[in-house]
């Protein structure tokens, strides 16, 4: 494996894992705050148990999220020093604010986890809310930094020099809002479906019904609402990308030739050598509509972009298909869920619906990862879109492949342990949260 590929793989791996840990750590506190609130309001101990059970998950994911995030803040330099040398002062603003938000989150988490019976109960609840809000703020800020790489702003690039630097303009670049919105909704959808699915599974196993039923409802509500909102945000993002990064959009849809009107293709096998796609379903004019809001608009194909600026088409296209496909599945499940709620059927009696949620456990995260592949691979060969190529940013140190293997091993074993720990937490629910055993 050559060093450049190794560096890219290591970065992708680190981000891929961090995204999952961070999303769970960012979203779960909101679920927790809801059930905590219900406990304080209703005095129903089940809600207290749910809050405590979830808070253990949060502690585990926060720790993994924090260390993998620390890792990333170093990795940017370890792998892409030339990028950081120029980009650091420009897009550093969201990172410095994120540092603050993250710090507050860590402090609030200390209060929350250790504050049971020690703090005023509403202050205690509030610290839980602070964990969620500052976590979400961190997430938005980090995505804003990533958005800058897609949509560089806040500097002039003249003769290879970066001048006239304005970090505030860089932070509020054109892509920050659409990307952050899409990411946050994705985080809530993915985590909501995963959590709801796990509790649905326990309901199917007839374990500790009330506990899992109430947990399921909180998580499913977040998940389904966000899954229904996501297509709107996706549409805004698509129009944005069409305008700003036509190469990325063309790769997403494997559009080799500029067309007017351009069809949307579903599925298909990409042949990168011959620049063709086969075996797809075609929706005439749909891509024109999605990208420009007009069924007859012209959509730029890869033929209008110099060949050495093409992103890897097949990966981007497949990832995009996976993201949209799974997003649609989750949207459908959400519609079914609301339909059943509306018909006042209780969820507990419809086993097939619970099974549907169990099936959906991994879907959100797969879609989320696929979405990141679209953003990151679709931006290639650029690290700063149109300004700096990824290959020019890589570290001069040889032997990165070894580092990649080592960190892969670490991340995989870490994930195995996390899954194992969660499995044990869930398995122990009936023991830990019996009414006689509340102070575990």
């Amino acid at each position: 494996m050559d060093d450049f590929l190794a560096a890219r793989s290591q970065m992708a791996l680190s981000l891929g894992f961090h995204i999952i840990y961070a999303c769970i750590g960012m979203v779960m506190p909101f679920f927790m705050a809801v059930s905590h609130y219900k406990w304080l309001k209703t005095n129903n101990e089940v809600y207290k148990h749910i809050t405590k059970a979830w808070s253990k998950g949060v502690a585990i994911f926060f720790a993994t999220g924090a260390v993998s995030g620390t890792m990333l803040s170093f990795e940017l330099g370890l792998l892409w020093p030339k990028f950081m040398e120029h980009a650091g002062p420009i897009f550093g603003m969201p990172f410095s604010l994120e540092g603050t938000a993250f710090f507050i989150e860590a402090i609030a988490l200390g209060f929350f986890l250790y504050g049971w019976e020690k703090l005023n109960k509403w202050f205690h609840w509030f610290t839980g809310v602070v964990v969620g809000v500052s976590g979400l703020a961190s997430g938005i800020l980090v995505v804003a930094a990533n958005a800058w790489m897609n949509s560089p702003a806040g500097f002039d690039y003249v003769n290879g020099e970066y001048t006239n630097i304005d970090p505030i303009k860089a932070m509020f670049n054109d892509a920050w809002f659409t990307q952050a919105l899409h990411m946050c909704l994705a985080a809530f959808t993915a985590t909501g479906f995963a959590v709801a699915g796990v509790h649905a599974l326990m309901l199917l196993k007839k374990q500790h019904n009330d506990f899992h039923y109430k947990s399921f409802k909180i998580a499913a509500t977040f998940a389904t609402i966000c899954a229904l909102l996501q297509p709107i945000s996706g549409d805004i993002s698509a129009k944005d990308v069409a305008q700003r990064q036509p190469a990325k959009l063309a790769a997403m849809e494997a559009l080799y030739k500029t067309e007017k009107p351009a069809p949307l293709i579903i599925g298909g096998i990409v042949d990168e050598k011959n620049k063709t796609v086969s075996n797809y379903i075609e929706l005439p004019g749909a891509l024109s509509f999605l990208a420009h809001g007009d069924f007859n608009a012209e959509v730029k194909g890869l033929d209008q972009i110099p060949e050495d600026e093409h992103p890897p088409v097949a990966i981007t296209h497949y990832a995009f298909q996976i993201m949209v496909g799974l997003g649609s599945v989750m949207m459908l499940i959400s519609i079914i869920y609301f339909f059943i709620l509306w018909r006042k059927k209780t969820i507990l009696t419809s086993k097939w619906l619970l099974k549907l949620f169990v099936f959906a456990i991994p879907l959100g995260y797969i879609a989320l990862e696929a979405g990141w592949v679209v953003t990151e691979v679709g931006r290639q060969p650029w690290i700063i879109n149109g300004i700096m190529r990824t290959i020019d940013a890589v570290t001069p140190m040889p032997g990165i492949a070894w580092s990649f293997y080592l960190f892969s091993a670490i991340y995989f074993s870490l994930s195995l342990i996390v899954i194992f720990l969660l499995y044990r937490q869930i398995k122990m629910v009936p023991v830990l949260y019996k009414s006689s055993n509340i102070d575990q």
Binding site: A59, V67, M71, S73, G110, I410
Partner: protein, 334 residues
């Protein structure tokens, strides 16, 4: 604004050494605790650092963010030439950070604890060691941007007697800080005695490794003597550190735990002042006499200004909240 950003950088580095260092030290103490006392040590430790655990490590993030936003050349030079020790330190941070949380949140307490404990102890040692090695390498004058072969560019920049001595010295100091901190958290006199003993060992180790730092500095041509003996402030700091040590041992016999912590913190602060004051604002000493200084690598004005504001405003939010956290969980439970 420049000054404010630099002040925050120094503060973040100092607090990471003190608070993060005490955390590493807790693992190091556990490593050097006899098997029969380990579970007690662990309990005291968990009690003491559990609530502030995550917050202590945020100082590293703050320091690193300041470096890459405002001093990108320092950040990238370290990233390139100290890639290997940084990667090792990161592995340590990942391993100990997760093992500490996992061993507490594993719903079933079984043989897995054995694994978490092992990981926690050894990686705490490793992290402190490499943190020190990195600090030593920055000062060592072995970082060589013009190196043409792998070993000179990426290995000998940190693999030298001076860096390794600083690493060992740091490890001992971390253990010392943790032992002093934990004395105040003990519930029984017996435990207290054990930590006093630990503090003594760690102190002794620090003195030995400290001497090694001076020897290796002479061997590797690091002008350490010029910084700490022939510089007024440096000398003053060394004298204060020594005096506070004497006072610390005197008070230890009296059991004044709060003052002990302050003294131990003061002592480590003085050591950092002693080795950094004389060559401030220089940050990295390069091979062949060059330096990378804070002033001549600082980023563009607007960046520094907005970073400065972010830090000032951020600290208004963080510091009171953090102070309350430390205060709230320090009161001993009856």
């Amino acid at each position: 604004m420049e000054q404010i950003v630099i002040a925050f950088l120094c503060l973040a580095i100092l607090l990471y050494f003190l608070l993060g260092g005490a955390d590493f030290g807790a693992g190091i103490i556990e490593l050097f605790t006899s098997t029969k006392n380990r579970s007690r040590t662990r309990k005291t430790m968990y009690h003491a650092i559990g609530p502030v655990w995550e917050a202590n490590h945020m100082w590293l993030i703050i320091a690193i963010v300041i470096l890459f936003v405002a001093f990108p050349r320092i950040y990238t030079t370290m990233s390139v030439h100290l890639h290997i020790p940084l990667a090792v330190m990161l592995i340590g941070i990942i391993a100990r950070g997760t093992a500490f949380v996992f061993r507490h949140y594993d719903a079933v307490k079984d043989d897995m604890q054995w694994l978490y404990n092992r990981i926690f102890r050894y990686s705490s040692f490793l992290t402190a060691l490499f943190l020190g090695i990195i600090a030593g390498s920055v000062l060592s004058g072995k970082v060589d941007p013009d190196a043409t072969n792998f070993a000179d560019a990426y290995i000998f920049s940190w693999f030298n007697w001076f860096s390794i001595s600083v690493g060992l010295f740091t490890t001992a100091l971390c253990g010392f800080l943790a032992a002093i901190y934990l004395i105040g958290e003990c519930k029984t006199e017996e435990d207290q005695k054990r930590f006093i003993k630990k503090a003594k060992y760690m102190n002794f180790a620090a003195v030995v490794f400290g001497a090694m730092v001076f020897f290796s500095a002479a061997m590797e041509d690091v002008p350490l003597m010029n910084w700490v003996v022939y510089n007024k402030v440096g000398l003053m700091a060394v004298i204060l550190a020594s005096l506070s040590l004497v006072l610390l041992w005197y008070l230890l016999l009296k059991g004044r735990t709060q003052i002990l912590r302050i003294l131990a913190g003061f002592q480590v602060t003085m050591i950092l002042v002693a080795i950094s004051y004389a060559h401030f604002p220089n940050f990295i000493r390069l091979k062949g006499g060059g330096v990378i200084s804070l002033y001549n690598t600082i980023g563009p004005e607007k960046t520094v200004q907005s970073l400065g504001w972010a830090l000032v405003l951020g600290s208004f939010l963080i510091l009171p909240f953090l102070g309350y956290l430390f205060y709230k969980f320090q009161q001993k439970e009856e």
